[in-house]
């Protein structure tokens, strides 16, 4: 691609030479393209209408130049003696495969002048122009900060006998095919530029512009950013002798103090992700600290991603480290594996969210609870957030509205998409990790990752890998999470201890009348009832503690709604815990997993006292309204 950015008009003019091979077994009559900036062309596009009123809000006061669009001027065939220079543009037709919105212009097809046989390669020269939008979602320009994603005519993926080329949706990310990119970006020389891949050349032109040439093999997209305000830092990361990647950090000047924290987060992510999923194979990784108000933060593209930070973010709060690790992590599940974010969003977001919390926990330990007052984050050092809490609240409140495996734009609402794609996916993996054991799980994840690089895996690929490593068919368990809307909730229902009843009636030919059994004064008949309150059935351990310190460990398959365990002995049961090793991270109510005979009286007193302090102060504080 050869691209020029006119910063005065905020317009991109581009020429793209696309060499595309039909790797399918089908003969093709058309080619489909993504023209995603048309999502920002007006308020009737699929993207704009899916978000409801909230998405319409930022565009309410849009001026003419704030709307974004992309216009293809020509698509000419090259390197074909019979059809050299043939323009496909006249046949361009907008398609809306996902809905009935004929106002959406984010997908287009062009007819081929002759059918394209399997294995055949076509070379096209595409000329286009794009108006950079004011940022609504992920891409655009604000002042002189540009983040440009989904910005060029990108060919769709021909898969399973159809063009897998979805419209630009409100609740979805992206899917494209792998290729080699060689891109020249020309823009004013004062701009610092970051992009997918490695910069091969930087040429300064006489007209005050500079041309940056970036190349990258084996990626399925190309994104770039430019701003004169960026501070650029570089750091080398060594995987092993001779195996390195370069970290490029583009930082907002007011976030200078976060430089080391950003770099440490990327290095931690590189190190841990490489151990878990295979060495990061690209030469560069660019971390962009986005400008405030740019709406471009927290987004992944091949070898480049945006994080996000506040200049006051304290250490321990998790910002900007967690989002940095998360967006880096996408370079595996979205980048290297090429999971379809439209159709199987959990296979990218769920896996990446799991990876984020795992790496964060390994690198930093638990986060500290942080609340923001008047825009200033305040740490509560006595309150740490365990990794098991990640996502469980969202699952408890929202996940039941849908099942995980849905097209991203089919979820009931944004919350349900998020809870099912990010949180439930993460929790399923963490539960799986604890059920299979860390070692088996790690081997399974590495295998799943490595065997699907550049492969666009589907759910069945994940099922197959899990079952192979578990040594048994795991589809019953996985189905409950992926295709079920049920929750996991085990509980200890009750504990009973009583002395054996004296005997009455006939025994061994003798009539007994209230005859105590031998030793019954010291003996107890005890029972524990454990319950399954949710729909998800997973075998679970039960720990029973007796007075005096003796413990017993039981196992329950969880198939029926409840199970009773009975004991006879000299000590009564004092406590029972279902899932004592906290394997079932998916359990939405951990509080009811344990039951003691004696309540802990101190906790409610202690915390009522603290709450009382707040209330007394509030009453005294708000008397400002009454003298």
């Amino acid at each position: 691609m050869d691209v020029r950015l006119d910063t005065a008009r905020k317009v991109i003019t581009g020429r793209e030479v696309l060499m595309w091979t039909n790797t399918s077994p089908d003969t093709l009559k058309s080619l489909w393209f993504h023209l995603y900036w048309n999502a920002f062309a007006n308020n009737a596009t699929t993207f704009m209408t899916e978000g409801g009123a909230s998405r319409q809000d930022p565009v309410r006061h849009f001026k003419k130049e704030d709307w974004g669009w992309i216009r293809v001027d020509s698509i000419k065939i090259l390197k074909d003696p019979a059809l050299e220079g043939f323009d496909l543009k006249p046949s361009l037709t907008f398609q809306y495969p996902d809905d009935i919105n004929d106002m959406d212009r984010t997908v287009a097809s062009v007819d081929l002048p002759r059918p394209m046989a399997p294995g055949e390669t076509i070379v096209l020269e595409i000329r286009w122009e794009g108006q950079v939008p004011r940022p609504i979602s992920r891409t655009g320009v604000i002042n002189d900060y540009y983040f440009l994603g989904q910005w060029f005519p990108k060919i769709g993926v021909y898969l399973d006998g159809r063009w897998n080329c979805h419209q630009f949706h409100g609740s979805s990310e992206f899917f494209a095919d792998y290729g080699t990119y060689d891109v020249r970006l020309t823009l004013p020389a004062s701009f610092v530029v970051g992009a997918t891949g490695r910069r091969l050349e930087l040429t300064r032109n006489a007209d005050g512009t500079a041309c940056h040439r970036f190349t990258q093999d084996s990626v399925h997209d190309f994104a770039w950013t430019a701003s004169p305000r960026f501070l650029e830092y570089r750091q080398r990361f060594d995987f092993a002798p001779g195996r390195t990647s370069e970290i490029i950090l583009l930082l907002q000047p007011e976030h200078r103090r976060l430089k080391e924290r950003y770099l440490k987060a990327v290095m931690s992510a590189l190190k841990q992700a490489s151990l878990l999923l295979g060495d990061y194979p690209y030469e560069t990784i660019t971390c962009v600290d986005p400008a405030y108000n740019s709406r471009s933060g927290g987004m992944e593209y091949p070898t480049i991603f945006t994080a996000g930070a506040g200049f006051l973010d304290p250490e321990g709060s998790g910002d900007p480290e967690a989002v940095t690790i998360h967006e880096f992590g996408h370079n595996y599940f979205y980048g290297l594996l090429g999971s379809n974010e439209f159709e199987n969003p959990w296979m990218d977001e769920g896996f990446t969210t799991f990876l984020e919390s795992k790496i964060y926990d390994l690198a930093y330990g638990p986060r500290t609870y942080t609340r923001t007052y008047f825009g200033i984050p305040v740490l509560f050092r006595g309150v740490t957030i365990p990794v098991e809490s990640s996502g469980i609240s969202e699952v408890r409140r929202t996940a039941g509205r849908d099942v995980m495996q849905r097209y991203a734009w089919h979820f009931r609402d944004e919350e349900s998409y998020s809870a099912n794609s990010y949180d439930k996916g993460e929790i399923m993996l963490r539960t799986l990790e604890r059920l299979l054991g860390e070692k088996t799980f790690a081997a399974m994840m590495r295998d799943y990752s490595r065997s699907n690089w550049f492969g666009h895996p589907r759910p069945k690929d994940f099922y197959e890998t899990v079952s192979r490593h578990a040594g048994r068919d795991m589809s019953g368990l996985l189905d409950q999470f992926i295709y079920g809307a049920g929750v996991c909730d085990y509980a200890v229902g009750r504990i009973d201890n009583r002395h054996p009843q004296p005997l009455r009636g006939w025994l061994d030919g003798k009539l007994l009348e209230n005859t105590p059994l031998p030793g019954s004064a010291q003996a107890f008949e005890s029972e524990v009832v454990v319950q399954r309150l949710g729909d998800i059935r997973i075998p679970v351990d039960v720990l029973v503690k007796f007075k005096g310190g003796r413990t017993l460990r039981e196992t329950w398959d969880g198939q029926y709604l409840w199970k009773r365990f009975r004991y006879r002995g000299r000590a009564p049961i004092i406590q029972a815990v279902v899932d004592p090793d906290f394997k079932l991270v998916a359990d939405i109510n951990r509080t009811n997993n344990s039951l003691s005979r004696e309540p802990n009286g101190l906790a409610p007193w202690k915390w009522t006292v603290h709450w009382l302090g707040w209330l007394q102060h509030a009453l005294e504080f708000f008397v400002i309204f009454g003298g």
């Binding site: 405030y292 609870y369 609340r371 008047f374 305040v378 309150v383 006292v609 007394q616």
Partner: protein, 314 residues
Amino acid sequence: MKALLNILQGFKTVKSAGRLVVFLYLINLGFSMILAVPMYNSLAESLGRSQAGENMARGFDYLWWEEYRDRGHGLAATFGPSVIGRGALLNNLEGLLQMKWTELPAEVLAAFLIYILLHTFLAGGVLFLYREGPSGFSLRRFLDGALGYFPSFLGLTLLSWVFFFGVGFLLVPQLTELVRNISANSLTEKAGLWAGLAASLATWVLFMLIQMVFDYARIKTVLEERRNIFRAFAEGLAFSLKHPLATLCLYSILWAAGLVLSVVYVVLQESLAPSGPGGALLAFAGQQVFILGLVGLRCWTYAAELHLARFFRT
């Protein structure tokens, strides 16, 4: 100088009727206890016989709290990790200045309303006793004053709401919009942060000024036996405008004392946080000393303002 002198005299007045401060503090405690009982029951029911109870006795079980929050309604929604130390104070400050108190559960809002009206009633007794001079605390005389001035004070409270809520519901949203506009085109969050802080500070100053003017309106009611609330308000405003330095200095010094007291409380509360029953008892004792101090400061403000009003009258 005048402010300092009257602050000193005000302190002597408060000291001479020290039992009044204790009485007012006990009303705060008793009133809070009414809500603390259902809160205790709610916590006891949730934590009771679970391992989470053991965890919460030792520290803070975040997992338990998330479950409790997700299922909780009413009072339970006000419980969280930020009820400790600085969080409790910041919650209330932010609640006041950004009008977030309107999001509190209905039972808490009802309690606030009743307490504010109760305080309106009690303020008459406080000022009546202080007007009479250092003759100690007599419940009968206190109630005589409270009952006698309640209609006027209630009228003043309602009139003050016009100003308070005018600021809170009309000006604060405007300021919020202004902050949003300032930060909308900014490439850094700093502009929005500073603008937001300035907006909160402006709101705080306005609230303080309204409170101060209405303090003097109440004092005028008691000193001059003004029964017309509009005239009392006009006189309170005129007094504040006529003696801006003295009134503002006095008010600011005592607010600063409140701030110092709050910081000391937060530091002690957060650094001395032993677990076990002794720790809970110590936390309770610390809180009560702090609340007693705040009640004392409010009385001290009234007494000092009363002396200042008298000072300029003579």
